[in-house]
């Protein structure tokens, strides 16, 4: 029957079995490696190196989460458990080997975290992956609570609420690397980040990785092509635990402290935000999300007392209107670029963006003024926004805010509709040409 396929002309791009060229296959990774190598030379301040260390850790963590949510359609509310347990095990191991006793150099310690993540992934996965969907989400929530609460009770191992501290320079040193200077830790994290990202990308391109996608799309059908969906979920869960554990191990090397807050519900929630805001439908999405969310997390709090509220609103609006996250929005522009239509649509984007920003300004005025009136009342009602000073209980600013929000919102919705139409038209035009 194989002759049937020979009679059909293969369309362009049809898989031919020829291996992609080395540039195509390894090029992006080499670029990424070079980028990681030069970043600390471009951003050399202590803060930027520290921030990049956190970002590197979070990239692994967010990607590991996306093995569940984006790749396999599993919504977990307890993923930080593996991050935390990986971190604690690494820290305990480091303390045991402190004083240069163990033969292992610091570079391999994240593997301890990874193994811990894997082992606990197997244990908890055996329970959680018996169910899918909502029940799975609730079980992970329960496991998260169980482990976090237990961590406070088992003070000997978890060090109570202060956690346990380590000294990374006490570990057996090789190549004269003490890992005292933060930049050395940066390169350690960057190395592990690169390896983990490549590994996780590779997994998406294996038979198992594709079956995960199938399970996400239609688990029932997967049963009828020979797969046990529970096993698929279980493997995905365990592997996600492995990488989350590596991230946790890196975190404990980076901060030299690990406490139970790092595995609590807040941390589990934040990884959901990272993956989702970045975009779960695209491999690069969680990477973008980890970078953006970490940056905002560290910087936005200096700007507003209620930054977390903005964060929540951003998340909800993305769930409602941009379910594929930042990466999804970027990917939507790709066909336009390919068809040479982006510049024709771009003005519409700007048109929609301006009233959108106006509405945002109005909303943020309302939020900040409410905040000033309630919680910050002790500091007086005077406040300054965009260099303009006013009183939070005056009528004019409230009126302004409502007008900005209402007017901007109304125009924004209209302009967004125009932009959508322009996008559709451009797609059609591109196809015709």
């Amino acid at each position: 029957m194989s002759d049937t396929s020979d009679t059909v002309v293969r369309p362009a791009g049809f898989p031919s079995g020829a291996a992609p060229g080395p540039l195509r296959r390894y090029g992006p990774w080499i670029v990424l490696a070079l980028l990681l190598l030069v970043l600390p030379r471009v951003f050399s301040s202590g803060l930027s190196i520290s921030t990049m260390c956190v970002m590197g850790t979070m990239i692994i963590f967010a990607l590991s989460y996306n093995m569940l949510l984006g790749q396999s359609g599993l919504l977990s509310f307890g993923h930080a458990v593996f991050f935390g347990l990986g971190g604690f095990l690494t820290a305990q191991m480091m303390n045991m080997m402190a004083g240069g006793e163990g033969p292992l150099p610091l570079m391999v310690y994240p593997l301890v975290g990874g193994l811990a993540g894997l082992v606990f992934g197997v244990i908890f996965g055996a329970v959680a992956t018996r169910r899918a969907g909502t029940a799975f989400a609730m079980i992970t929530l329960g496991i998260g609570e169980l482990v976090t609460s237990s961590a406070l009770i088992l003070r000997g191992f978890f060090g109570g609420e202060t956690g346990i501290t380590v000294d990374r320079t006490e570990i057996h040193q090789v190549f004269g690397l003490s890992f005292g200077p933060q930049v050395q830790v940066y390169y350690l994290i960057a190395g592990w980040c690169l390896v983990s990202v490549i590994a996780m990308y590779a997994i998406t391109r294996t038979p198992f990785g594709r079956i995960c996608n199938a399970v996400r799309d239609n688990p029932q059908r997967v049963n009828f092509v020979g797969y046990n969906t529970t096993v698929v979920r279980f493997i995905a869960f365990s592997l996600a635990g492995l990488f989350a554990g590596i991230a946790g191990g890196l975190a404990s090397i980076n901060f030299e402290i690990m406490n139970s807050a790092q595995m609590g519900a807040a941390e589990s929630g934040s990884v959901i935000l990272m993956a989702y805001i970045g975009g779960v439908g695209n491999f690069a999405g969680p990477i973008i999300g980890a970078i953006v969310v970490t940056y905002l997390h560290l910087m936005l709090s200096d700007l507003s007392d209620v930054w977390e509220l903005y964060f929540g609103l951003l998340f909800i609006s993305m769930v409602m209107y941009a379910p594929n996250g930042i990466a999804g929005v970027i990917m939507m522009q790709r066909p336009l670029i390919r068809r040479g239509q982006l510049l024709r649509v771009a003005p519409y984007y700007v048109l929609a963006l301006i009233p959108g920003l106006v509405a945002l300004a109005g909303l943020s005025m309302i939020i900040e003024m409410t905040h000033q009136l309630s919680i910050s009342a002790s500091e007086g009602l005077g406040m300054t926004m965009m260099g303009i000073a006013f009183n939070a209980d005056a009528l004019l600013p409230w009126l302004t805010a409502v007008v900005l929000l209402g007017g901007g919102g109304w125009l924004g919705v209209r302009a967004a509709r125009l932009a959508r139409e322009a996008y559709g038209a451009a797609m059609v035009r591109g196809r015709v040409q």
Binding site: P181, N259, I375, T384
Partner: protein, 414 residues
Amino acid sequence: MRKLFATTAVALTVFGAAAVPASADTVKIAFVDPLSGGAASVGQMGLNHLKFIADTVNAAGGVNGDMLEVTGYDNQVNAQTSLVQVQKAIDEGAKIIFQGNGSSVGIAIEEFVTKYNSRNPGAHILYMNYAAVDPAMTNEKCSYWHFAFDANVTIKMEAMTNFIKDQPEVKKVYLIDQDYSFGHAVADTAVSMLKEKRPDIEIVGNEFHPLVKITDFAPYVAKIKASGADTVITGNWGQDFALLIKAAGQAGLDVKWFTYYAGAAGGPTAIKQAGLDGKVFQVNEGIANLNYGPAMETTKAYTERYKDAPTMFPRVFNAMDMMVKAMEEAKSSDPADFAPKLEGMTFQSFSNGGEMFMRADDHQLFQPIIISAIGPVESGQVDEENTGWGWKSVGEIAAKDTIVPTTCDMKRPG
């Protein structure tokens, strides 16, 4: 949000290579505590105190001619976020870090500062701890670059038990604490110190409950009642305290309460609701109604500036005033120069003028401890949380009667 948009530019250039160097004539003080989210109000109070004191010092000509500049950094009460914020502060030229909320954050900063100074030759970052009270910070984890200005768990228990020692009506004591290291420290020191000072007292219960997880303390109160206790000692704070007191009031539990944090936000309201007039005691370094002249004047000036925020942290004043004195003695604002002056310094307590001293062995401040009870106050006196109830001193323990040993093995630089 006062800073909103104004600091956008600064934040966006954070990734710019060069850190802003500290100008020669300012001393940068970084205040690392919660400044966003629900705990912001607590952190904001500390920041207000620091700014108030810095302005006072600056108005009088500054320190050695240099001006103090206080900047807030939001740590979201998270240990790891705190470390990035401390790094940010250091980049921006701060050498003095103030922090107080949360021992887990405190220990993280203490370790970070110590390691940072040893790994970066020439760096002298100092951690001024105004409220974190884990005894570990001045014992096994003690650091030359850390000074503790609040009385820690053991010191307060020493003061508390010295007070209880002379209360013959205390016969049966029930201990209830949060199930984490602070709660255990409270319970353990209470047991050992009571046994030593009042062997006749019977400990009828030593209970630990989960931290900030209990919504109804009625079952616990039933247990206390069943035990026949006449006194309860608790380290509970926040909602764990408020709910415990509330449940006690509802069940009509009639005992004396010796507490660490009854005065913290929410506490007085709960006590008044439960109607426990004169039954609840707290142990701290100072209260509003001590009628000590200099403190009253400062309090007045402070409340004029921050109208609805009368809560005072005497320890912030102690910390800042002692630091300024050390800088002046050393004629330098580099921690490497003035830290030796801070060691062993004696000073007058902000609250009542009593003598206090910074023990050089572990950098723990010893200061007079006030035992106070809450009840209705006359007009003119300071009440708490608009309840009409305020704290009144029932006993003062001098600094020399609060000394506890330390296991600190201080590693000094050089």
